[in-house]
Each structure stands twice: as C-alpha cells, then as structure tokens.
C-alpha cells in the first residue's frame, strides 16, 4: 500500500514537471471574427502564431447575419473577452463613443493606408479600428444570357459605363420570373451599403454632416427617386427577385446561371472562378443614373480592439502583423478584397494590371463615397434596412422614407451629447 502511494506521488511529480512552466506560457488572444470560410481565415492566424511564438491567437467565426448582435452581447458585457473583433468600418464611431474600441492612433502609421480606409475607421480625428479590407462593387454579367437575347453586354470602360436606365431596360428583356431567371440580382439587396449610391448618384446626401440628423437627407427627392427606381426593379419591371436578401445566397444565384447581371463585391471574383468554372462571366463598372454622377460603395472590414483586453502588447503585435504588407498580400490572395494598404497595389502587378482591377482602382480613387460617419450607424442602418426590405413589396417610397427618417432621428438623439 505504502509503495503504491509513493509511486503515485512520484508519478504526479513527474507529470507536473512535464507541464509548461508559467514563465514559458503564451499569451492567448481571442478574436470574434467575421464568418469567412475557415480556409481564408486559418492561414492568417497560423501565420501570426508562427511569427509570434509567445502569443497564440484563436478565433471564432460568426456568420455575417449574426456578427453584430454577437458583438453587442460580448462587448456589452464589458469584460476582456474577446481581445479583438471584426469591425464593420462604419461602426467604428459607434464602438468608439461607447468605449468598446481602443484608440489605435499609436499602433498604426496612417500614411501606409488609403485615406478612405483611415477615414472609415476614424471618428472626430481618432482612429478606432485598424483597416483590414476595403471593398468596391462591380457589375458582373453572364455572357450566355446576352448571347441568347442577342444583346451586347456592358463594357469594362469606365467612361462608357452603363446607366441604371440601361440596366433596367436590358434586364427586363432577359428576365423570366416564371422560370426563376432574372435580369439583375443585387448582392446585398436590403443594405444601405449597397443601395445608398442610388440616391447619392442623383446628388443625395445620406445624413447631416454632424451625423445626427437624417430627416431632409435620406427622405430628400434624390433618395426618393433612387429608391423608387429600386422598388420598380422588383414590382413593376420584375427584373430582380423580391425577398432575396441573403448575401450568402445571391452570388450563388448568379453563379448557377439564374441572372443576367449581378451587382456585387470584388470578393466574388474568386468565388465565380473557383466554384462555377462553367460560368462565362465578365465585369463592367457600377451603373449610375443618366442625369446624375457615378457613385460606388466603399468601406469594409476593420479590426477592433476591446479596450478591456489584458494583452495590450500582444494585441498591438497582432494588429501590426495583420495590417502589415506581407500579410495583406497573403490576405488578398485568399480573398480578393480591395487593398487598404497603398503598397499592396504595387505588388502583384499581374493581378492589379488586369481590366477588372483597373476598374476597381478607378472606382476607389474616383467614385467611392463612404457611408455616413455617425456614432448611430447601427440604428441608422437597421431602420433604413427594414424600410429597404419593405419597399420591395410596394408602398409609397416618399412616405416610407419620411417615416424612417423620423425613427432614425429619434434614435440619434442619444448621441447629441457625445
């Protein structure tokens, strides 16, 4: 009995000796990350963990549709978990004023990034989120549809870009709702990100300059006209499928040959090439209204830091690594978002010299208009999004927008003292 107990104690001692000591333990960083395919996320975290053996960064992927609510719960709990999170760039001000995003002025050299990306992460001069990916939109088209209808597809020349009127007219000729074939599918068909340019193209401004008033802006004649056009795509002309809002579904509808045209992000370039090799597609610049000017969406994913993190040094290393030149090139190869770093455009000339990326670069530098800078973006977006959904089934656009603007302004009141 004695011998057994002694043996057991010795074994326990040996076992404990085998465990890593405190001095050698690593810092564990937890990230709540946008639900991109794991194959596009894991290599980035693996690269960081390899480059910084003293820290281990782990992540959980949350689907896009649930990410913001999840972050509200996590960050609202005001604990150190998670250390880092995927931050939709227009929400930077919201997280900032609510003390849910650490100021990163000392962490990043702003000069390395495009001005649009820095602006998207800043509010009143302070940088609240690190630019990680930018975005732009292209008009994808399916050559088979155009060939079958005997029509010429849109050109890649930005000077000859199609008007919305042309898209609707040509779309009507190719749509056949009874056969589930559509003229145009909009990737994020309910989100202000993608739809604000409809009003902006006609000279509309989406929110007051101080970011606190929407009445007189989002219900101005330009937006009423732009969104009435959107409504008619669904109701009168039946060019687009109503009620199809999920950005996880819309690219696949185009990929599987259900639509002649698809207005979507650059991140679909890889998807269509890899998942739908049979699809014969091309790209053209974003449309605009004939009597207006070209405006394209921009802004995308940033990285936010929880101000309550207990690992500030490791978090700083992580942010610098993830937004650094090498990793940004790798990230681009995994998922072709528009680069946020200026130097990435000079790398990969074989990619950025193609007509597609020439269009994108032109848009980012000339036609991109960022979403309004306001601490109330979360409320603004949700209320407007609901209206954009409702609009697709009919209703008086002017009345709907006026009503929504009043609701938004009521919510923005709480930011008056910020």
């Amino acid at each position: 009995m004695q011998a057994t107990r002694r043996t057991a104690l010795a074994g326990l001692g040996l076992g404990l000796a085998g465990l890593p000591t405190r001095a050698r333990s690593t810092t564990v960083l937890k990230a709540t990350w946008e639900g991109w395919p794991d194959s596009q996320v894991k290599p980035l975290f693996d690269a960081f963990n390899k480059a910084y053996p003293d820290a281990t960064a782990s992540y959980e992927l949350i689907p896009f549709s649930d990410l913001f609510q999840t972050l509200e719960v996590r960050l609202g709990a005001r604990t150190p978990d998670p250390d880092l999170y995927s931050c939709d760039s227009p929400l930077s001000a919201s997280y900032g004023v609510r003390n849910q995003a650490m100021i990163l002025d000392d962490v990043l050299d702003r000069a390395q990034f495009s001005k649009a990306a820095v602006d998207a992460g800043s509010f009143r001069g302070k940088l609240y989120s690190a630019p990680f990916a930018n975005s732009s939109q292209l008009l994808f088209y399916n050559r088979a549809f155009f060939k079958q209808a005997g029509l010429t597809p849109p050109t890649a020349d930005v000077a000859q870009r199609w008007t919305w009127e042309q898209v609707a007219e040509v779309g009507r000729k190719m749509a056949d709702p009874a056969q589930n074939r559509w003229g145009l599918i909009i990737e994020q068909a309910e989100r202000p990100y993608q739809l604000l340019p409809l009003g902006q193209s006609l000279g509309g401004v989406a929110l007051s300059a101080d970011g606190l008033k929407s009445s007189g802006f989002i219900d101005s004649p330009a937006f009423v006209e732009g969104f009435t056009f959107l409504q008619r795509l669904y109701t009168d002309w039946k060019v687009s499928p109503p009620g199809v809002f999920d950005p996880n579904v819309t690219p696949d509808l185009f990929g599987s040959g259900r639509a002649a045209m698809f207005l979507g992000g650059t991140f679909n370039l890889g998807l269509f090439s890899n998942k739908y090799p049979e699809l014969d597609w091309g790209v053209a610049p974003h449309p605009y209204f004939a009597r207006g000017k070209p405006v394209t969406p921009t802004g995308s994913w940033h990285i936010g830091v929880n101000p309550r993190t207990r690992n500030k040094d490791a978090v700083t290393e992580f942010i610098r690594f993830m937004t650094g030149p090498e990793l940004q090139v790798e990230w681009f190869k995994l998922r072709p978002y528009v680069p946020v770093r200026r130097d990435v455009w000079d790398k990969l000339p074989e990619v950025f010299g193609t007509p597609t990326w020439k269009i994108i670069r032109y848009e980012v530098e000339n036609t991109a208009v960022a979403r309004p800078s306001t601490p109330g973006w979360r409320e603004y977006e949700d209320l407007l999004r609901q209206t954009l959904r409702d609009m697709q089934t009919g209703g008086d656009v002017k009345a709907m927008l006026t009503d929504t603007a009043a609701k938004i302004d009521r919510q923005l009141l709480k930011y008056n003292k910020v």
Binding site: F68, E72, R98, N99, G243, V244, L253, P375, D382, Q386
Partner: protein, 286 residues
C-alpha cells in the same frame, strides 16, 4: 422527523434552477424597466420614462396589436387542432402509426431550423411551394413578403411545428377518460357526437386548460421565426413584442426600453393566463 426535510432536499436543485433562471431574470427585467443605460454602460434610474416613451410610440402599439392578433388566432387554432388530432390518433387503426409519426416529427426539428426550412420552402421566387402551386395552374404567392400573408404564414409554420407537441397532452387526457363511461353512454343510446359533447369534452377540461395556458405563454414569447424570416416586416406586420424587445436591446442599444417591453409582455401573459385559469376553474365548479 428526518423525512420532513428530505423532499425539500430533492426539490432544492430544481427550485434553485427555477429561482436563478426564471425568478432572477424576471426581477432584473422588472427593475431594469425603470433604468436607462448610458453610452458607456452606466445605468441610472429613470422612473417611468421608458414606459411613457413606449406609450407614445406608434411602433410599440403596432407591435402590441400584432402580438394580440397573432395570439388570438394561433392559440385557439393550435388547441383545437391538437384535440382533433388526438381524437384521430387515440384509437388504434390502420395508418395511425404513420400519421402519428407525421405529426410528431416536426417537434424534433428545432424552431430555428423550422424557420430556415420554411423560409426556403415558401420563398416567392425559388420556393418549392410556389412551384407546386404553379404546376396546378395557380398563381404564385408572396407568403412572408406580403403584408397580408406574412402573419398567417408565421401562424401556419408555428402550428405545423407546435401542434404535435400539444397533441401529446390531449392524448394523455383522452386516455385518462375511463372507457366504462363511454361504454355506458353507448349502451344508453348516445351517439358519437353526444358522447363527445357530454362526456369527452367535459372530462378533458383540465387538459384543455393546461394546453391553452402553456401554449399561450409559449406563443407570447415567440421570437426565432420573426428574427430569422421577417425581421418584423413587411411594414411591421409581424413585429411581435419579443422581437421588439430584442431589437430595442441589440439594434437600438436601449436596454431600458427592451426591459420595459419584456415587462409588458410578462404582464400581458400573466393577465391572459389568469383569465384562462379562472375560466377553466369556474367550469370546474360548475
């Protein structure tokens, strides 16, 4: 002597769970309805501000209206259907096994999955239900995308999933009716309708009472399908109070409003359940 505390010891874990996960959140909601949360998380006492703000908010009143209409339709519908199905399945016969499986299967599907599945099935453009309608020469329907059809569609899918569950309790009630009573009535010349009316229904009073009250509580708290499918739309036509409470907290970042709405739901459920309870108790006495 010792036996006195033993039952309490066995009850303690369940009571503790009930206290922690039911009573405490209810108390927090009741208290929280009188508070407001500042932008950086600090909470302050606001008196009745949240409630006066709700009282003057047309969106809230629309939500109350939608919730009441939804419950006035779905609760009686589910109770009656559950009873009819239980009657159908109470007696062994050909095909009853398959029918039981068909009715019970939806219970095994989570409400979230039910929502995702029916959202696809009822999709106006690519949904198989519209495909079926078209193949019969009927017009395709907008279902969740129409102000008029969204709430009925919601009621339909919730009933599809829930009715099998409530049927279980009705079956239990039916099996508790002594067969001799029915036999005696048959010998006395009572037909099936008279037996149903004068024997089955009165003896099922307790089952009806339980199912109606439990079903009411469950349906007033319905959230997932609205969140997943309609987000309260089109134009507020499916904006149930639970969804409004969620939206207040997680989208509009207003915890006080959310907790005030939760308290209103609690009060409505308590009032309706009390009325239902009194109705069935009064019958009991009679």
């Amino acid at each position: 002597m010792r036996a006195k505390w033993v039952p309490f010891a066995f009850l303690a874990p369940a009571l503790l769970g009930l206290f922690l996960f039911r009573a405490v959140p209810i108390l927090l909601a009741l208290g929280g309805g009188f508070t407001g949360t500042g932008l950086t998380g600090e909470t302050s006492f606001q008196g009745f501000d949240n409630y006066t703000s709700l009282a003057s908010d047309p969106e809230f009143w629309n939500s109350v209206r939608v919730t009441l209409v939804f419950n006035l339709i779905i609760n009686p519908l589910q109770v009656v259907l559950a009873f009819l199905l239980a009657l159908l399945m109470a007696k062994p016969g050909r095909g009853v096994g398959a029918l039981r499986t068909a009715v019970l299967l939806p219970i095994t599907v989570s409400i979230a999955l039910t929502s995702v599945m029916w959202n696809l099935l009822l999709d106006p453009a690519v949904g198989p239900v519209n495909g079926l309608l078209r193949s019969f020469g009927l017009a395709a329907q907008p279902f969740f995308h129409s102000q008029g059809q969204a709430l009925p569609s919601l009621i339909a899918i919730c009933t599809w999933r829930g009715v099998g569950y409530w049927m279980f309790f009705m079956l239990g009630g039916l099996s508790a009716i002594p067969p001799e009573v029915n036999e005696a009535a048959s010998i006395d010349g009572a037909g099936p309708w008279r037996r149903l009316w004068h024997i089955t229904l009165p003896l099922m009073r307790r089952s009806f009472g339980f199912v109606l009250i439990a079903d009411t509580a469950a349906n007033f708290l319905l959230f997932a399908p609205v969140y997943i499918i309609t987000a309260g739309g089109p134009d507020g036509s499916t904006s149930l109070l639970m969804f409004e409470a969620y939206r207040a907290a997680f989208t509009l970042l207003d915890n006080g409003r959310s907790l005030a709405i939760s308290t209103v739901i609690l009060l409505i459920v308590a009032a309706v359940a009390t009325l239902e309870l009194r109705f069935f108790r009064a019958d009991d006495v009679a």
